[in-house]
Assembly symmetry: D2
Homo-oligomer: 155 residues x 4
Amino acid sequence: MKIFDYQTRVRYAETDQMHVSYYANYFVWFEAARTEYFRAIGLVYADFEKQGLFLPVAEAHCRYLGPSCYDDALVVRTVVSQMRQRSLRFEYQIFKNLPQVANPFEGAKPIAAGYTVHVFSDANLKPARIPDALRSKVELASLDMSQSVRRSNFR
Amino acid sequence: MKIFDYQTRVRYAETDQMHVSYYANYFVWFEAARTEYFRAIGLVYADFEKQGLFLPVAEAHCRYLGPSCYDDALVVRTVVSQMRQRSLRFEYQIFKNLPQVANPFEGAKPIAAGYTVHVFSDANLKPARIPDALRSKVELASLDMSQSVRRSNFR
Amino acid sequence: MKIFDYQTRVRYAETDQMHVSYYANYFVWFEAARTEYFRAIGLVYADFEKQGLFLPVAEAHCRYLGPSCYDDALVVRTVVSQMRQRSLRFEYQIFKNLPQVANPFEGAKPIAAGYTVHVFSDANLKPARIPDALRSKVELASLDMSQSVRRSNFR
Amino acid sequence: MKIFDYQTRVRYAETDQMHVSYYANYFVWFEAARTEYFRAIGLVYADFEKQGLFLPVAEAHCRYLGPSCYDDALVVRTVVSQMRQRSLRFEYQIFKNLPQVANPFEGAKPIAAGYTVHVFSDANLKPARIPDALRSKVELASLDMSQSVRRSNFR
């Protein structure tokens, strides 16, 4: 599995008085997508922590290309784009209200695109090697981030 | 005023089970710092919105250089590093538990560094010109972000 | 439909350094459950707001009977227990990690139980009558809250 | 000290698309007020946790009497209204934008009133006795909650 699509809905709690989703919440959705990405490849991130392995965030970035609103159905496309000795890089694109068709992503433009970098760490937050179970299961992929560099039509 | 220092404390709500502040909350602190930056130069951002002007986020980035924990006293150094026709760029550095000395920042290393880019917009989220009242009061500045590019000693 | 079961998972963002879900987040789950309750009876709450009808919270209560943790699969049992001229009362019970059996609730004890009271309001937050479309579709029910009054075995 | 007043401002993150503060955030402010209540009587709650003592929430309640909005200056009146062998009960009233006068609370009506009940626990969340250092410093008080039982004029 190279690409994982995590689905969620914008909660009322996640909106702000601009009538759109508050910007920090995109990072919460990225996190939820990571959890489900791991489950989709047969791993439970919670188990890593029980074994004393943690995945803190070293860097986070998001470009906001269009708004999302309360009750919008979101899809967070999620890939691992880089894996080093101790670090992982995830890339994400968020789509909203995709049509119920054979290939809903065709022609769809993301409303947000971002990445996070993580360093595998032990319980004292010292860097640790990525476990083999994880290394063997991740298949690297990349998302077309070019459209997210274009001048946003929204903000 | 070129540099504004916003002070806050890490709330219990802002921690996660890794015993550190959850990464998305750094963007909430950036936001609170922006509000107080505006007030410090004599403007109330809430008034802009009452006049139909909004400042949505177009891009957000944070590099995490060290952990922060519940009840840590944080300082968010805040500057406007760029101002164009319609957009503003803020830069931030977060410090924790600074000593009570004459120059607490001397030798202090930030635990996080980031930026946000904003596009002034009207009520329909279409780009709008930055109001003169704002333009005339902002003094550009930059933070030394070099140390935040170094390999983090923590994660 | 008298009882609606909303399913969600505890996000990392929703935990705190006590290694359990932060207490305010139970109210966020209650809210997400309300949205899906409405959808399940054929109504979209977002549409109410587009028509100028709002459902602010007048009162909220939760009793915490046991912990929930990161990645726990939660079920929020949701009913409307009272409907007056302008107000609605929801009751909730939260269960975690229910077994995959015919009647997973048999013998299961909730980890939390609560209620919220709402007053239908217009755009100026003045009380308004509950729309007939809603009134005709809600079937009142109640949850057995007796066990939630017992002395908690946990906290 | 019987009554502690915690001050905070409504963050943009804390609003929702109803243009008011999201209801769950009142419980976050209650929590921040508790932390500062402890500090005001000479105790640091973070130190309790370092010694293996925790204060999980057993029950939480809030009545919303009027809205609060972005940038409103809030005061959270905080008292301990009950102390048993293992449990504490806090009561809160929230006021907004109080005037800068000698007695700002005179005639002021709270926009919210609530309480939380806590059970002192050890690291395994088993009940524990309240430490003497705490017991000796808390002075019980109560807030006039009568006005919060009246029919809200707002919601």
